[in-house]
Structure formats: C-alpha cells, structure tokens
C-alpha cells in the first residue's frame, strides 16, 4: 500500500501536526519508503497466531484505590506555558 498527497494531509491532521503544502510531496515519499519496507510482513503466515499484548507473561497488577499523592498544585503547573491561579490557560474554546 502507499499513500497519496490527500492521505498525507489527513494523517498530519489526525496527528495534529501542521504541514505546509510544500512539504507534502517530500513527506509522501518518506512515508511510502517506510510502507514499502514494512510491506514484506504480508508474506508471513499469521493464521491462528495471537497478537502479542504483553511481552513478559505477568498478572495484571492492581493497587488499592487510595489517595497516595497530592497537594502539589504548584509542581503540577510550574512547567506550563500559561497559567492563572493554578489553571492552565488555552485559547478560547467556547464563544
């Protein structure tokens, strides 16, 4: 399979990465090179094979549903680009 220019633009939007029109042909070439490389997987017989979900066999761990951390609001917001009184600020979402 290979991707066309429209698909490249669609993927960029799904990935939330702005891509300038001039970059599309170049990106299309790179993505198609990768897709051509992974194409060889289609020759593997995977009938009846379980997809891997955990590389190390282990029981799913559970923990008690308790508060074990908190009161660190300053730490939580200290790396944010824009805040006001412990809230993250973003461009207006609702008119």
């Amino acid at each position: 399979m290979s991707v066309d220019a429209a698909t490249v633009r669609r993927i960029a939007h799904l990935a939330r990465i702005a891509v300038a029109e001039a970059e599309v042909p170049h990106l299309q070439g790179e993505l198609n090179a990768m897709l051509a490389f992974v194409e060889q997987l289609s020759e593997v017989n995977v009938d009846g094979v379980e997809p891997m979900t955990s590389v190390t066999p282990m029981e799913m761990k559970k923990r008690s549903d308790v508060v074990n951390d908190g009161e660190i609001t300053d730490d939580v917001v200290r790396n944010a680009p824009d805040t006001v009184s412990h809230f993250f600020l973003v461009p207006k979402v609702v008119e």
Binding site: M1, V3, T7, V8, I11, A12, H13, L14, A15, R16, I17, A18, V19, L27, E30, L31, A33, M34, L35, F37, V38, E39, Q40, L41, S42, V44, V46, V49, E50, P51, M52, T53, S54, V55, T56, M58, M60, K61, R63, I72, D75, V77, R78, N79, A80, P81, D82, F88, V90, P91, V93
Partner: protein, 491 residues
Amino acid sequence: MTDLISMTIAEARNGLANKSFTSLELTDAHLAAIEAARALNAFVLETPDKARAMARAIDAKIAKGEGGPLAGIPLGIKDLFATKDVRTTACSKILGNFVPPYESTVTSQLWRDGAVMLGKLNNDEFAMGSSNETSCFGPVVNPWRREGSNTSLVPGGSSGGSASAVAALLCMGATATDTGGSIRQPAAFTATVGVKPTYGRCSRWGIVAFASSLDQAGPIARSTRDAAILMRSMAGHDPKDTTSVDRAVPDYEAAIGKSVKGMKIGIPKEYRLDGMPAEVEKLWTEGAAWLKAAGAELVEISLPHTKYALPAYYIVAPAEASSNLARYDGVRYGLRVPGRSIGEMYENTRAEGFGDEVRRRVMIGTYVLSAGYYDAYYLRAQKVRTLIKKDFEDCFAKGVNAILTPATPSAAFGIGEKGGADPVEMYLNDIFTVTVNMAGLPGIAVPAGKDAQGLPLGLQLIGRPFDEETLFSLGEVVEQAAGRFTPARWW
C-alpha cells in the same frame, strides 16, 4: 595521584574505600575532562555545582563508613531520564525548558546507592535514531576516528551521548535506554559495554516514553564488571510501573568470572547476511572460538522470523510513539506556538517542536493505527511479534543458554553519511538488535575487536528472560579474550 579518569568503577570503588582519593577529587577530575571535551557534544547540560555538592555529601558518608554500592562514583545521565529540578528535554525542542518536579525511579536508585550526577547526556530526539543526529542539540561526535582520518563519526544512537562520554573517559558509567538497539548499537560503535535488560527488569517510571512495550533502561560502562555493578542499582521492582517485575535483584557482579563450561551457545544462521563485511563475519567466528575455548558448546540454531523483526518494529514502535507523544500539546508543559484556535495551537506547537524523524514516526504511527489500516498493519505486526518471540522460546526450550551474534552490521559511519535520502537506510543499523526488544529479552554488547580502519566492533549476546547473569559471565569471557579498547585522545 593516580589518573582519576581512566579507572573502572570497580577500581575507583577500591580507591575510595581505602581513601586513596575522595569522591570530590574524582568528580572534579571528571568535570575537568567534560569541560575539555565539549567538541564531542556529549553533554547537553553540565551540572558541576550539583555534582560537587553530591560528592561532598557522599564523602562525609564514606568517612563515617556508610555509603552504598556506588558511593562516590560520578555518572552521566541520558537526557531521557527525569531528574528533579534539573532540566530534562529528551533532546526535543518540544520539551523546551522542562524542569521535572520528580526523579525517575532508576536515577533515584543510583543516588540512593551513592552515585554522583555529572550532567545530562545527549541522545536522539525522543530516542528516535541510530546515530544521535536527530537531537535538537546537534549531533554527538564519536571519540573514535578512522586511522589517519579527521572525519567526525557518529557514536551510534539513540544513547550516543552516553556511549561517547563513557568511551572518552568523561564519566565512569552512564544510564541509557534501548527500544530497538539504542544501548547496544552505540556501545558497539564506541568499544563500550552496553546492557539492555529483560523487559520489566528496570522501572520505566520517569523515563520519557518512546514505545512503552519495547523501552528498557540499562547501563553503558567500560567493562562488563562495571556494567554489572550499575545494573544491580538500576534494576528492581517499582509499584509505579505496572510492567516492572516483582523479582529479587541478583548480585550481577558475582556472575563475572563464573565458569561458562557446558553452556550451550546458539549461532543463528539467519544473522549471516548477504553483503555483511568480512570483518564482522570474522569477529563473530572469533567470538564463538573464545566461548568454545572457555568450555561452552556451540550449536547452530534457526530463528526463522528474524528478517521480519525490523519491519514489524517499524509498525509497533511508531504506533506506540504516536500515542505516547500525543501528550505534547503546548498546554501543560514545554513549547507552545500560538494559533487562532486551540486546534491550530496544537498543530503549530507540534510542527515547530518535533524534528523531522519524530514527525515522520508520529505520522506513520498515526496511519497504521487509523481506521481501516489497523488490522492490516498494527494487528499483523503484533502477530509477527508473537512469532519472533516463539523463535527464541523454541531455541531456549532445546537447552540453548544464550545466543551469539554481531552487534551491528558495520562499524561507526560518518556524520551525515546515512539516511539522507531514504530513512530505511538508517533503520538497518538495528537489524541485529531489534529482535531482542521485540521478544523482551536481555542483550549485552561487548567490544570484541576492530575493523580494518581501526574502528571498534562489538558482539552481542542474547539471553533467556531474566538471565542477565549468564550474559555477564559470557561477556566477561569475550572481554578477557578481546581486551579493552580506548580511543586515542584528539579533542
């Protein structure tokens, strides 16, 4: 005073214990070496004040007879590990000046055991690369050069800063991470020892995530013994990482020097590639002979799905990366590039913040997970992964203790030489290492010789799950036979 920077960790430990020198003296010697080696671009952040403060504190403890297994040993930390109050960027513009208010579990265990932090080490952006050329801080230079040449070579990647710094005697050991070969390939390119532990052996908590089902932290050091010493402190169960395994951490150092007599070593025929350099082939044969001379038994084995590991990896790893990297949105930390709407702000931030390689992988990952393509790509790759793991399980079930392979298909190459036109050219670097991540197994790269141009080459040993000890025993046999290799200083 003795030469404080060319010692191994084991030697420095003795010197500190019998008061031949202090940790502060050892730390100062390394800080001076780092300052003189800025041409290598191995460190992206030097933390001399913190290093000296940590060294003084540990000297006081050593004087009282306290300390810990790594008391006073100066280390470098890959910039993928969150370090409390010390800038951590994953060498990406998108993390900007991120200063974590917390410490990764692995590094916290190193400080618990008395180690000293010299600074943060360069790596490929988000650990995506095999040459350390994708870092937003620029490429790292390998301290090794071809004989009679001034050409700057890559140290490998993604843990290029770690490998370069350890090889150039800037730190006694370093933390690193390995998703498809990012510890073992740079170790092979710089004549250092690199260990990728079994998946689950080290906590991933506080390490910037790339591909969560493949990422694993491990050490880079100048000897197998040093790597074993560091591994013991880095490994262990952590309730904060649900994939971390609750299993006692053995004394890995005790495995150094242990007899390998009677061990069955598999030589996988699928690793004999067409067009593989004769030197790599020769070294592999030589390595097998060393293990045989030490009493191991060599058997030819087959890992039939080997050739599918790299293509399957380039579906699974980007898919997980596209999901993990969705968090970089310009809202809670890192870079923000304004836009007219919140959507445009996300898109502008991620366009500006991610480098070319990261953008490429996020996009391919998004594609293989998208509606209509998930089954054809992602699900199929996860099935192939099951088959890759089964290949290894079949060999281990037949009594194979470990597998010997070359670590890389070639020695280090020049900066800018590979991957310019076709990204896949660069990806092929990991052809021998990536199977190990896909199967969750432990692997070690040990320096074993040089190519015709005087560049180091490494051998890789692959072990059974949680049997790192056997790898240390076998690695030591290779090290004893091959000797250790140090680059001639030019910087």
